[in-house]
């Protein structure tokens, strides 16, 4: 065992948990009329601290703790930093946009932080039961957050749909875990990898893999497991969607990478074609459906399905290049998607009086800053060079081409051409002169506060950095990929895994 105290291996999770508990306790002890907004700052500070703790973990030797259930490696640190960054931006965004008098504000911040605990743990867990627990922690927080606007009909509807379908998917995952345990007698991922290699065609292992894939693909909202996405995104408050559409997905993709490349590299020939199909379906279904949407949040929901497809294209890549591309895409997608939801929150407001594409007409004239940012993030989602979206797609598809999946890349890039149509529809609506028909849209000039300004700045800087100087982030992603390819030494001897 490594001499590093186990607690250091889960330091970010510990900090986040303490922050969440503190926020809840303070919330409970404050007088009812007392403003809860400072709690948001507490949560943001805790998240920042957790982010630093993740970076600090870089100085630790790679290794596992708590009887080989969690691991610290370049891979986990990459996703920890990403998730903490997303959560930080989402918190900053919520600080300025949640109405001052809204109920349960303290709980809102606590839930966001607890969700982050689950997501972080999910990326670090190397033991399937811990994986399951982490997934549940993150899911339960997000179910509640999705229904945060319970005054409207849509909020509870969103929460209920998300909860029912989500539990169903989690059940699949759990069933898959049970099958694998039945076949191998262990839930430790390295062990499973070793045993699965010995008996690659064990029926239970194959069934377990398939069931786990269903559970995970549901979480990343890949077609055909995507039907919940538009309704949930439409019903949940925009800052929550900023979080929902990025952080849990990043965590779930981390899990998918772990399952595919670390647990079952020996079954590459099974899962690679499956994910090929899912990738093509997700892109095509997502984009075709998004073309028809008039509601901005639904449109972006379908766009996120399509982006899940672009990311899955990276799984056609061989080993390191595929993992690195997928990790990079998760980061690029998070930066631009959080950014665009921040803009949408500001434009349409917490109560979302302006949900339709047509309502964005004249935004550039009303508020050049927000209009410009909207167009900027849309341009990145389209995948124009010098933005993060471009390099995300670029790495993903070049990994696919490198792995021999030229058709996947062609379908993907044609899809991104198709996608340009609806992104542009929104951008052009913003650039069009205001209509007289919608006076409400004409008068609303959103204000940009300090917290939201910081959130937007972070998102813009991240998108630009990933688009112009992606070298550092890519190197981090590749370092992570290497650690996933060559698992750490644990107490039980584990063979280094040769690539199939």
């Amino acid at each position: 065992m490594s001499p590093v105290p186990g607690i250091f291996r889960i330091l970010p999770e510990v900090i986040l948990t303490l922050t969440g508990v503190a926020v809840m306790l303070i919330d409970a002890s404050l007088a009812p009329g007392f403003p809860r907004r400072p709690l948001g700052w507490v949560a943001a500070m805790g998240t920042t601290l957790a982010l630093w703790a993740s970076l600090w973990q870089l100085s630790l030797p790679q290794g596992t703790a708590f009887s080989s259930t969690v691991e610290t490696s370049a891979f986990t640190i990459f996703f920890h930093v990403l998730i903490c960054g997303i959560v930080l931006v989402a918190l900053l965004l919520s600080l300025d946009t949640l109405p001052e008098d809204s109920h349960h504000q303290g709980e809102y911040y606590a839930l966001v932080v607890f969700g982050a605990v689950g997501m972080c743990l999910l990326t670090g867990a190397v033991e399937l039961l811990v994986v399951f627990i982490a997934l549940e922690i993150s899911s339960i927080s997000t179910y509640v957050l999705a229904g945060y606007r319970k005054q409207t009909g849509r909020g509870p509807e969103a929460a209920l749909k998300y909860f029912l379908l989500g539990s169903f998917a989690t059940a699949f995952l759990l069933y898959g875990i049970a099958m694998i345990f039945g076949a191998t007698g262990t839930t430790q991922i390295y062990e499973i990898a070793r045993l699965a290699q010995a008996a690659p065609n064990h029926l239970f292992v194959l069934a377990g893999l398939a069931l786990m894939l269903i559970g995970i693909l549901f979480k990343v909202s890949a077609a055909p497991f995507h039907v919940w996405t538009p309704d949930v995104y439409e019903g949940a408050p925009a800052p929550v969607v900023a979080l929902l559409s990025t952080a849990p997905k990043a965590a779930a993709f981390a899990l998918l990478l772990r399952v595919a490349y670390e647990m079952f590299p020996s079954l590459h020939s099974i899962w690679a074609p499956l994910l090929w199909v899912v990738a093509v379906l997700s892109m095509t279904v997502g984009n075709l459906a998004a073309l028809r949407q008039q509601n901005v949040k639904r449109m972006l929901a379908y766009s996120s399905i399509a982006h899940a497809g672009y990311l899955l294209a990276a799984f056609a890549g061989l080993g390191t290049s595929g993992i690195a591309a997928a990790s990079f895409y998760a980061a690029a997608y998070a930066a631009m998607n959080v950014g665009i939801f921040a803009v949408i929150t500001l434009v349409s407001g917490y109560d979302e009086q302006l949900p339709m594409v047509e309502d964005y007409r004249g935004l550039v004239y009303r508020s050049p800053l927000l209009g410009g940012l909207l167009i900027f993030f849309l341009v990145s989602l389209v995948g124009i060079p010098f933005t993060g979206g471009f390099f995300g797609k670029f790495y993903s598809f070049s990994a696919a081409v490198g792995g021999g999946a030229v058709w996947l890349a062609i379908i993907g890039l044609l899809n991104s051409g198709l996608a340009a149509a609806y992104y542009l529809r929104l951008a052009l609506a913003a650039a069009r002169r205001s209509s007289v028909k919608n006076p409400e849209a004409a008068v609303r000039a959103p204000q940009v506060g300090v917290a939201v300004g910081a959130a937007l700045l972070l998102a813009v800087v991240a998108t630009l950095v990933l688009g112009i100087v992606p070298g550092e982030v890519l190197r981090a992603a590749q370092a992570g990929a290497h650690t996933l390819q060559a698992p750490v030494e644990i107490s039980a001897p584990a063979d280094p895994e040769p690539r199939p």
Binding site: I384, F394, G417, L424, L428, A431, L474
Partner: protein, 514 residues
């Protein structure tokens, strides 16, 4: 001098970008954005003039080159440089920038900051396309050039900007998907995006033939839409009638045509030869189709669009004739087209500004009221028709004569018909706008002739048309050198162009018919 030579191209790229940032940050007070944009573009033009001044003729390869690693993995390099092919195109882009700014001086009345900032970003993107020697860098600028263009068409369109912008964007964006796949495929096989490296590898036949053919086709498709070549020209007329003058004059032609020469003929010579007969056919159809469509247009922007289609197709003919002279003529004709079309756009923009209609029928008899505009318009139209002594003649002559002797007499005769039709529609346009009885509108509205800023733009362009017509030897040596490097040994080398003077007095078929 050496440091300047090393960094001049970077400076050319960064100056408009800095100007754009300055425009965006400066307060929107009066014409401040206009002045910043004008100064930036004049400065940039000055910088581009450094290139021909210090270009070493007879030195093969790329000059003023920089090759710095940009991204480690995949290996993308900041590799820029110019040769004879791109040299004058960079200068032309620099020249048209102040022209565009002055043409927008009064035409853009609101949101000047956004307009000029995006206009300058567009400049950077175009320079980038012309000087990039790394395929990814090139692709980056190629895509980047779409964004400001689409936004500006949407925001400043005349009637239905957003629709035209969407059409333009999708038409040009979707074909660039196969282009990117092809680039990635080349990279997957070689580990390099470098143009020169890939050129050598392809020449040595280190690729499977079938996929390479498809890769070259993907390249060609993206370029053909951008030019546009005949069946892919659907976006052109709408874009021309909606786009602000300053952008319409750069939207078509040079980026795509240059890319064809450099990245299709230059990169895939064998495949280009296989595709050339089809391209020649499409080009000739485009020449005739564009000219016939131009004859019947009632809107002068659309007329200009189809005229452009016809003229650009002639250049495509020059490129895919794959003869030495034809390619040199094609580059020369890109320059001519830039100058002449630019001037024509400015003039029609002036008319549109004064009378707010592009309906040709509403005009008539303006020559008496706007004598300066009429004079310049006639000169430009004559240049456009290819009148000897003016610039288009030289380019058309080079292309047609090389096609005649190097490709096919039949196609040449057909293409020459387009030149005749060209004279017809231009003369009809001039006649219907400026001569004949004064129309109701012309009498009713006050006549405001060109003022200083307009004259300051148009006279130099007119002089340039004449100089380029009588002294092409100022430009051609560098161009020929560039063409020689592109075509290498594979080209069907014809006797080198004998010299402009003798060409003027020669009377080849096609030209003689006028």
């Amino acid at each position: 001098m050496n440091t300047i030579d090393n960094s001049i191209l970077t400076l050319i790229l960064l100056t408009p970008l800095a100007g754009a940032a300055l425009t965006a940050l400066a307060p929107e007070r009066g014409k401040l954005p206009n002045w910043i944009a004008l100064l930036t573009s004049v400065l940039t033009f000055g910088l581009t003039l450094h290139l021909p001044a210090h270009f070493v003729l007879g030195q093969s390869g790329f000059q003023f080159a920089i090759n710095q690693p940009w991204i480690e993995n995949p290996a993308i390099f900041y590799h820029v440089g110019v040769d004879g092919l791109s040299l004058w195109l960079v200068v032309l882009t620099g020249l048209l920038a102040p022209v565009g700014v002055l043409a927008s001086w009064n035409a853009i009345r609101e949101r000047r900051k956004i307009f000029f900032a995006l206009f300058l970003i567009q400049q950077t993107a175009m320079f980038g396309v012309f000087i990039s020697l790394d395929l990814m860098l090139y692709y980056g600028f190629w895509e980047l050039s779409l964004v400001p263009m689409a936004i500006l068409i949407a925001m400043y369109g005349r009637k239905d900007g957003p629709r035209a912008a969407l059409k333009f964007f999708l038409f040009t964006f979707i074909p660039s998907a196969p282009l990117l796949v092809a680039i990635l495929w080349l990279y997957a096989l070689t580990g390099s995006f470098d143009l020169v490296t890939l050129q050598i590898l392809i020449a040595h036949g280190s690729f499977p033939a079938g996929p390479l053919y498809w890769a070259s086709f993907a390249f060609l498709l993206a370029f053909a839409v951008k030019v546009p070549v005949f069946p892919l020209h659907g976006w052109l007329a709408d874009t021309f009638s909606e786009a602000p003058v300053a952008l319409a004059m750069v939207v078509a032609g040079k980026l795509g045509l240059y890319s064809m020469l450099r990245f299709h003929v230059g990169l895939f010579p064998a495949q280009a030869r296989a595709l050339a007969p089809y391209m020649v056919a499409f080009a000739v159809i485009g020449i005739l189709y564009g000219a016939c469509m131009a004859l019947v247009q009632r809107d002068f922007w659309r007329l200009l669009a189809f005229a452009a289609l016809s003229h650009l197709s002639l250049i495509v003919l020059g490129i895919y004739g794959l003869t030495f002279t034809g390619s040199a003529g094609a580059i020369y004709q890109i320059l001519n087209h830039g100058v002449v079309d630019g001037a024509l756009f400015v003039l029609l923009g002036v008319l549109y500004d004064r009378y707010a209609t592009s309906e040709i029928g509403a005009y008539g008899g303006l020559a008496g009221k706007l004598p300066r505009t009429a004079t310049l318009f006639v000169i430009t139209s004559l240049a456009m028709m290819g009148l000897p002594l003016l610039n288009n003649f030289v380019g058309e002559f080079l292309i047609l004569s090389s096609t005649f002797s190097g490709v096919s007499r039949g196609w040449t005769v057909a293409a020459s018909m387009g030149v005749i039709l060209g004279a017809a529609y231009m003369l009809m346009l001039v006649q219907r706008i400026f001569y004949g009885p004064q129309s109701e509108m012309a009498t009713a509205k006050p006549a405001i002739d060109l003022r200083v800023s307009g004259l300051a733009v148009l006279w130099p362009l007119a002089v340039l048309m004449l100089v380029m017509g009588v002294a092409p030897s100022l430009w051609l040596p560098a161009i020929e050198q560039g063409v020689r490097s592109v075509q290498g040994k594979d080209a069907v080398v014809l006797p080198v162009f004998v010299g402009p003077q003798s060409a003027l007095f020669a009377s080849p078929e096609g030209e003689g018919q006028r």
